[in-house]
Amino acid sequence: MTSRLLLPATLRRYAGGQAEVEIRGGRLGTALDDLCERLPQLERRLRDEQGRLRPHVLIFVDGVSVRGGSPMDTPLPEGAEVFVAPAVSGGSCG
């Protein structure tokens, strides 16, 4: 199963400047495991060392937020758009 990971500008440097990256896996967790093999510095910006989504990272799969429940178990249909965004809650103060 192949999906498109769409990156905000601040993360593109970890993907060779690309705005999107192909990821492979039937669920968000396995797809990010695949990403970790190829672009570990990008993957660690999305998940902590326990494999959990970082607190202020938003991910939408085909427009639906994965927050709540078990985000890593979110199914990824073939060709899914996996959109990454920084939450407005998580920036530095000021």
Binding site: L46, D48, E49, R54, C93, G94
Partner: protein, 365 residues
């Protein structure tokens, strides 16, 4: 001095200042890690070239521990995460509060203190770190509380001659001491007051909010501590502590710095109180003792005379190894001041920065 560098970590980036004229003037136009907090910096001069470290908070994207071997022209982030809790520990590094190279006879050892309360050790000069399990598994840990800045291990003090002897300082857990290389740890807070606890519980075994501990490397048994209300000295490497705050305008503060050559000389930056984190009387002054805390004197020559309402944080004051010693501090107003004569006179080195979190200085060439 040949080339000296001054690292100034701020709420929104890292300034690298350079001086080639024995610290008289500094270039201050190198500002990196834009919009990212730099809570910890370190300069490791045990190898040539020296290595500089930065503990960077990337906001949404988690913490980063990175290093440079070309004095900040380029930075290395290993493919493997250099620092992280083991799988299954249910913990994740939230912030790197301290990066501390070990003494010169352990040239590849670097320690890191993080939030949540934990110590990490590297044996490959900071490329990879392992959790010091003896502290992480300490039976007191479930009772350690966060300080106002978080559950941070913010100070690491290796013994200069004994590689098995190490002190760490945590808010709000206090001082802990190992003499067996980190396998076991004992609290070292006897005599330090926890003024925020009920009156009959103010001298607990642990739980104090110690803000900073400093010592002179030639006299490692004598420690100085700035506590959350209270300034102390220990003559037995933390076995017991006695107050030395008489003569200071306040016993609250964060920064505390030992003179590099004089074991009796110490610098403090008092703040009015925990609820009033301003210089006492709104006067920007560093206090110096030259007799291990028996008496204190304010130092203000060259500092602003107008009312000053910004604090100095725990890692934002530092000494270099020059003779006479240089003393530096950065304020939450984004100003950096330096003295080339041990604090007798000061000058403004940089201004209009974001608030200053961490400062380190070293001669590197």
């Amino acid at each position: 001095m040949g080339l000296a560098i001054l690292l100034v970590g701020t709420r929104k980036g890292l300034m690298i200042a350079r001086s080639t004229d024995d610290r008289r003037t500094w270039t201050t136009n190198d500002f990196q890690f834009l919009n990212q907090e730099v809570y910890s910096v370190a300069i490791d001069t045990r190898h040539d070239p020296p290595r500089i470290f930065a503990g960077v908070g990337t906001g949404h994207w988690g913490p980063l521990l990175t290093f440079s071997d070309d004095l900040g022209k380029s930075w290395t982030e290993p493919e493997e995460p250099p620092i992280g809790f083991p799988p299954g520990s249910d913990a994740a590094v939230a912030r790197v509060w301290q990066i501390q190279p070990a003494p010169a006879d352990q040239p590849d050892v670097v320690y890191a203190g993080v939030e949540p309360h934990a110590l990490f050790r590297s044996d490959d000069r900071g490329k990879s770190f392992g959790l010091v399990e003896g502290l992480w598994n300490h039976p007191h840990r479930p009772s350690w509380m966060p300080g106002g800045g978080g559950a941070c291990l913010h100070t690491i003090l290796p013994h200069p001659a004994d590689p098995d002897d190490l002190l760490v300082v945590m808010s709000a857990a206090g001082v802990y001491h190992t003499r067996d290389g980190g396998a076991s740890w004992e609290p070292a807070n006897r005599g330090i007051q926890a003024a925020f606890l009920p009156e009959d519980q103010r001298f607990p075994v642990f739980g104090q909010c110690v803000h900073k501990v400093a010592f002179h490397p030639g006299r490692p048994e004598r420690l100085f501590a700035q506590n959350h209300f209270g300034v102390y000295r220990s003559e037995d490497r933390g076995g017991s502590w006695t107050p030395i705050e008489s003569g200071l305008p306040s016993n609250f503060g964060f920064a505390l710095v030992a003179h590099p050559h004089r074991p009796d000389t110490l610098y403090s930056f008092p703040l009015q109180a925990d609820a009033e984190r301003f210089p006492p009387e709104a006067k920007l002054r560093v206090y110096r003792t030259e007799n291990a805390g028996e008496t204190w004197a304010p130092l203000s020559e060259g500092l602003p005379k107008d009312p000053y309402y910004a604090a100095v944080l725990r890692d934002a004051m530092v000494a270099d190894s020059g003779d006479p010693a240089g003393i530096y501090f950065g304020t939450r107003l984004g100003e950096v001041y330096g003295s080339r004569d041990g604090g007798d006179g000061w000058s403004l080195l940089a201004s209009h920065l974001p608030d200053v979190l961490s400062v380190r200085v070293a001669e590197v060439a």
